[in-house]
Symmetry: D2
Subunit: 321 residues, 4 copies
């Protein structure tokens, strides 16, 4: 199975405390170089616009080609300063229009670079305080914004990455079910979910259950892997904490026949990103191999009886032999 | 506005530690007496079967009539020992059939007692461990069970009360959006949501947003009030902790034109239930009065600009004058 | 290494929904029989008083002897109806005195049955609402109650099992550090902590760090194992969710030279308790064996550099070979 | 009562998504100007070093004097890139020495500017993954680092601001009790706690209880106010969500005789900081006035009986008249 990674894994990470960054500034090109140097990735998820206006699409393509990297998706940066108060739901129609414009541009870039889909991560579309927004309006704009872009490009696939919160304390695209319901209401066929294992965990979902639901509705566009403490999007390396749930997630992907590349979404604040990627992929490889050891008939029998203990014994045997 | 309460508020409460109960055993009839003695309720939510086979529907009706209490809803006890491993999703078809049977019986009782709707709280339909169930199967049975009952009684309304967890660590009917999506898939018109403010809080929703969504889809059946620490269904008295969110919830109900009675869902483990009900209703009355002080045009303007600070100032003024 | 279990693992479990119990009523004697039938336990943690006044200490001893079971600890039931509003901190001095009296009785029973220590789990000592108690008073009574009992029996060891909440929404003995600080203030030498892995997890501690701290201060009395989703005391089987943290916990115990038996604290609501115990012990045995594979020098080097990735690789290798 | 604010409230805020900042870059001097322009502050909490090496202490003093601002505390920036892997606990002794050096420098600056105390917020001292650090070593270095600085300046007061997590997933100075225990072990008299209401909330403490504990031990150095959703350090405006707990906190401060200025710790990502400060102070003024309406004898009686309902009624009356 092939793997991809978000280009941000290799970029400079800042937060509100280390405002000088956890490492030096890194250009889009250098980040692609770094992604290539892992020797393990077939593609990347690229934030658009590029890190500097001096960089052209051809420069990006050249860097990708050098390492044989495919563009899995283009992700417009609808969460930077301009969109701090919202992208598709910003109170100012000019900013909403700018978000749509950036989305269209991203579609063009995606076409030029041969990306599989365009990803929206509407991390500023939401609110922070009670009474701050009109919820019906927020929903309407969320659906019209993305729905409108998708309707204009019926040949392109779009994926929405939901998350409960951060940077807003409440995001509109919050959970798998809330997002699937909103996508149903959009009335377009070419929009689905990007299901991030970590987002699912801290949204109090069971990731394998959310995966099953999204796939069943034909709305699964992409899958991202990482780990966290169930309360925040820590973006730790894969398997650092939730080995059983990661195993179940990989097993479920396999049973659903999902054969698209799996993506890594890590924030290695204090770690070497190349090593973080390699270690995460080693863990995924290992757990996928263990998932294949699961005795399907026996597992199905345990599940048919909702037998938690039998299921845990089967898991323990598959993991530890 | 009229108020109702769950009959359990007045019953004996047990938990896994005080297995001898936080007070003495109380019959359905005595609990109705207690509800009536509050002098503040127009109706009750009754668990069925009654506390003892010796009690007949006529006894219940007599007790209700004595206090002028209406039956807001009948709630079948699909969470007791027989259904510990599931009601509509129990692995054993005989138990699933028993759940359906109890649901039909509850419809008959609801008809006889003139209840407004039949409520399902499928608190045992879910799982506790990863790998324990087949998620697609769990969903299928959940929808078929309730959907089948609803299709058989097209003249009756049904409400599903969702909750993230407890007593299972994961419930199928977990959030507002997950439940609305599942109800859409059922293909029946007479099923909707019972939105419990506290369940919404600890499902990491904003209750007023969930309310807006359910109402907009024509799926709001009933509303329950209580409070908690956002992590568990503590069922504290109304307004004990979340005054601003409760205000927003009541304001939203008012704006949506919701004029059905509001229900209390309290577990006064160590408190007098009559006093807990009166105090909660006093707080609701007070906050409804404060909600009516909100200057609608000014609030709409603040919201139109997503102006959190202006909105908080408006709230502070309405609350504190 | 030897293992013990709480006798409640084998008893009838109730909760506020399945008030008729997840299984039939089970006497202290029958629960001991059940514990013995696991074939894997060297001892038990016994709640006192026994399930019925008809049962005498000699009956208990006979049942224990039959299965070669040791009494690891006596745990007075200071959380049942009488103590619903507090045991050592109840507002009524008569109830506080009753808690002390029951504690003294438990010491006598512990002496008679040869228990290693007396355990307090003050699950009703706390509060539920803001403004409900005088915090300084709550602290004073908590310390005086347990401290007074301990001072009266300087030859006996006492362990306090802390927990963040449940059944109160806030417990006084909440975290490892809060409890260690309070024990320091008690001024007695014979009181320490019972560290429950699950309680530590959902108190937002790292269990291995809490263990290190308690041991370093000479205050570690006993250790209990289980698992949960980090938000509530789910008491799932060992290793069901947190394999890495359980491994770290067992490794830390080993490095600290802890050779007392490890105790299981499970609530197998819907599972066979004998099987739940055997499976949990199999997992512990397996993880203890994997912990011994950890290359100590290499791990120390990774830790000396705070090298998270190296540490995770070492863990992965020890777990999966 | 006087009020202060962290200077960061008025600075540029970045996060890992809006890496171009939620507003333009702002110098220390401009931030002081902004603080002064609120017209409501008596002092500030200043991060050191200043925003640029071109700014001298005299420039800072001049800006402060212009607005009559006092320096409440100097907070060394032991959380920027250099200290990303730790300050007092960094694995490299050279970096640990640099943290100590910056602390000493901060003491000198504090002396020159007449600050009341020096604040440590060791947000990088902790870890992110299980097995990453030696917990005993982490504790030793944490205590030696701060304890050593404090011992060198016995005439200066030091305050430690604890927080459960962020930016590390686990911080050493995590809760009030853990920090008080560690301070006890330091063996110095001039170190105490800076208790942030929001940090206390999301550490699952009750802020008023933590306050009582710290004050009782003579370890309360300063108090900061803000609000959040109990899961993360959202730094919302005061009273936005937790009116009752804020009231209890202010009431407790009053009863303890705390007359030092109260500090604001806000991150107004999308709001005007001047307005956010004014609104927060208006809320504090209002709630302090309401706190003074609490009938002390009646409240004491309710508390003496742990009467939650009576206490809530008293609170409702004080708040709403």
């Amino acid at each position: 199975m092939a793997y991809t990674a978000g280009i941000w894994v290799f970029g400079q990470i800042l937060d509100r405390y280390a405002t000088d960054g956890y490492g030096p500034a890194i250009s889009t090109i250098d980040a692609i170089e770094c992604a290539g140097s892992t020797g393990r990735l077939s593609g990347v998820d690229l934030n658009y616009p590029w890190s500097s206006p001096d960089i052209g699409d051809d420069d990006v393509r050249a860097a990708l080609d050098k390492h044989g990297l495919h563009v899995r998706t283009i992700t417009p940066a609808i969460y930077s300063r301009r969109f701090a108060r919202g992208s598709f739901t910003h109170p100012d129609p000019a900013v909403r229009a700018a978000a749509v414009e950036l989305a269209h541009e991203s579609v063009e870039v995606a076409r030029r670079l041969g990306a599989d889909y365009v990803k929206f991560w509407p991390g500023q579309d939401g609110y922070d305080y009670p009474f701050q927004v009109d919820y019906a309006q927020l929903r309407r704009w969320s659906l019209e914004g993305i729905g409108g872009v998708a309707a204009r490009h019926p040949d392109v696939r779009f994926g929405i990455e939901y998350k409960l919160k951060e940077p807003r304390t409440r995001l509109f695209w919050s959970t798998a079910a809330a997002s699937l319901l909103a996508i149903d209401d959009m009335g377009v066929d070419n929009v689905g979910l990007v299901l991030d294992f970590g987002h699912s965990l801290f949204a109090k979902e069971n990731p394998a259950e959310a995966l099953t639901l999204a796939h069943q509705r034909g709305r699964l566009v992409d899958v991202e892997l990482c780990d966290n403490y169930r309360e925040w999007d820590d973006d730790l390396t894969v398997g650092a904490l939730h080995i059983v749930e990661t195993l179940e997630f990989l097993h479920t992907l396999d049973r659903l026949g999902w054969d698209a590349p799996l993506k890594l979404d890590l924030f290695p604040y204090r770690e070497d990103p190349v090593q973080a990627v390699r270690d995460s992929l080693d863990t995924i490889d290992l757990l996928r191999e263990r998932a294949r050891r699961l005795p399907l008939t026996e597992l199905a029998a345990a599940r048919a009886d909702h037998d938690a203990l039998a299921a845990q014994r089967i898991v323990r045997r598959a993991l530890f032999g």
